[in-house]
Symmetry: C2
Subunit: 421 residues, 2 copies
């Protein structure tokens, strides 16, 4: 193909890049959605899309008939040729690794998990993850000829802060094994692709922000589990903070004279609304529950002690989320984790406390919801991070070698790199 010259060709080239980038970041889109995202008129867009379709750079994947609620003719949805790119998302939890592989239209081609002991070393975890990827890819016939990038979620901040142990070893609950600095290297060497690593709860926040019928640009996410983690999406971007520690709502003090927390303070939100915190409070009220299963059984029996403990814990969570909401004015608050799934009273109570905390205006309050996603959230968030951060179509065929200015770090990788610099 001859290189176009002149200012018109230059402008069209830029417009093409914008369309391809919108599809890269968002997956399949209708022409109307592309026009809105890219800010081009339908006429200009029609010309550009026609040319890209003709060249095979993009394809029609389906129509929006399923998603569309109104009447009218279903609109075709366009995407990068699915085979033209692959993306890998990996989430290392305390006791399992979950992987998911997506194509250029953002469809998940394969996904799966493998378990390990929470005492498993990082070399063991990495080996298990790579073997799982190999097995799944072989079974489904997935090849990585155009791998764009790999996103990896890990527990705790990454890289783990030097010096003082953070967080301190948990008493009784899961021991955090922070990922070593080189966790990306094993993947980068194996696949020869860019790798980004971030905290997996934070990545889950990103996955929640873009899941569901409409994605939101501003979201507060809290996950209740053995500990309490969180993540913030602000203006469509994951927030890392200046030291990579953003989102740690679990360690806001809610009971100054409360129980000691693994972080070294007393009465952190985590001591109240984590699974161990809730179980301990039930014991205090004379109801000995051993684990999540016992708690679930008590919830299904509508045990009054459990109801009270959960409501009080969720009210404390609601006050912390209220302060975060006052600061950030998110469109949505999402509460995740297994406790939330088994006890809907938690989301109800958070919503009620939040409503009381906010200004008495109808328009100001966020939607409060239980998480849409489950165990796959970290891997899907890792994929989302890669969709947004992979070098702008660097490996995509037939696009000019024109990159945007690099002074506005607008991708998660760059932001994370800046935060750590």
């Amino acid at each position: 193909m001859q290189m176009p010259t002149g200012v018109h060709a230059l402008v069209r080239r830029t417009h093409e890049d914008c369309v391809l980038r919108a599809l890269q970041e968002n997956g399949a889109l209708s022409r109307g959605e592309i026009a809105r995202i890219v800010g081009l008129s339908r006429t200009t867009l029609s010309d550009i899309v026609g040319n890209l379709l003709q060249r095979g750079a993009i394809v029609v994947v389906d129509t929006d008939a399923v998603r569309r609620s109104g009447s009218g003719r279903p609109a075709e949805r366009l995407a990068l040729d699915p085979a033209s790119a692959q993306f890998i998302g990996v989430d290392f939890g305390h006791r399992r690794v979950h992987v998911a592989v997506a194509d250029a239209s953002h469809e998940i081609m394969v996904s799966g998990s493998v378990r390990y002991e929470d005492s498993a070393s990082w070399p063991v975890r990495l080996e298990l993850a790579l073997a799982l990827l190999d097995r799944l890819s072989a079974e489904a016939g997935v090849h990585y000829g155009a791998l764009q990038g790999i996103g990896i979620g890990v527990p705790g901040p990454y890289p783990a802060p030097q010096g003082a142990a953070w967080p301190r070893a948990s008493a009784g609950a899961t021991v955090l094994r922070p990922a070593p600095e080189g966790v990306d290297t094993a993947f980068a060497e194996r696949f020869d692709a860019p790798v980004i690593v971030d905290n997996n709860t934070r990545l889950a926040a990103l996955a929640e922000a873009i899941s569901g019928a409409t994605s939101v640009a501003d979201l507060v996410y809290v996950r209740l589990s053995d500990g309490v983690g969180g993540g913030l999406v602000v203006g469509g971007q994951l927030v890392t903070g200046s030291g990579g520690l953003a989102g740690e709502l679990g360690h806001v003090t809610v009971e100054p004279a409360g129980r000691p927390c693994r972080c070294g303070k007393r009465g952190c939100l985590e001591t109240v609304v984590s699974l161990p915190g809730i179980l301990a409070k039930c014991w205090e009220f004379g109801l000995p529950l051993e684990d999540l299963g016992a708690l679930a059984a008590a919830v299904s029996r509508a045990h009054p002690v459990v109801d009270r403990v959960l409501r009080e814990a969720a009210a404390a969570l609601g006050r912390v989320v209220g302060a975060a909401t006052m600061a950030l004015n998110p469109a949505k608050v999402v509460i995740g984790g297994e406790i939330t799934r088994l006890a809907p009273v938690i989301v109800e109570q958070v919503a009620a406390t939040l409503a009381a905390e906010l200004f008495p205006t109808a328009s100001a309050g966020p939607v409060v919801e239980a998480a849409h996603l489950s165990d796959e959230d970290g891997a899907l968030g890792a994929l989302a991070a890669v969709f947004h951060s992979s070098p702008l179509l660097a490996k995509y065929p037939d696009t000019a070698d024109v990159k945007g200015c690099t002074d506005a770090p607008d991708s998660i990788t760059e932001r994370a790199a800046h935060a750590r610099a």
Copy 2:
């Protein structure tokens, strides 16, 4: 000038745009700073800068001899030709409007204020502001032939939320007069330039983030005055929130059974650490103080009641800022407002409370500082917002009509527009 063709010219054109944009957003920079921001090698940059200097698109304004702390030869600082652009910043406070006009190198050419009653209507305020600009410009011989944009700060959220009054009329303290929806129109029509409007406390946060020796990308800002306002900078961007209400830390509940707040709740931070809140608490402890002047006198006498009231109020502020810090992990916390200037104990106590609230790691805590800027902060923040959001060199001579993709809203205007859409 002949339009360059071919891929090399295209790439150079893009590099030139990046250099010009870096200077547009940051004002004067050394070659080393440009290279770091734009991500080009010194060699490539040297060629591009040489060409831009030759064409008169940029000029050498000074050296970094004053700013530089190390030894070595001072580096030249480059900027867009100062006369090639003007920017206007306007800040409407409760009782005065402050204006500042900057050139393309970000130097302030003129600035000044004019007072009005807090009962003054918006048409009166607008007329006073425009007359002030006229007078200052005439005196200093400033012309607006290449005006890039106008930033305007207003009290309260903008546009003011519909329906329920927000915030409710203050009891005793200043009555908030929210800016009407068309506050931008008067300026846009007068100057034929793009106008952005945002809350002035939030703009002050942006000004604080980029003031001082080093700018920070993540900052929590709180201003203590008749009320308590705040603003957040996250990843270098001002946070507006989904409904334009972000930064309202003053209405986080700190004393559930505390005094009624003008927002309709009880015991908001504002009832404790605003000027009226502090004066009321002093009265409660038997020390009748009428106003800021009386408070200042009592502080200078080191009155024990005042010291106790200020410390307790600042501790409450520290807990709220602590929660925000846990969520956002900022590099810096800035406390502004006249009370902060007269009572250094406030910043001391906030820093102490914050240190106790955070994880016991040395690296995690933000710097806590009193505001650098004073009454000019809103206007400077409005200018900063315009520097970052003005259409990429749209009016700048001799640059190609190539704009970046518009799908990543990375400017304050676009973000604000999205938030309000």
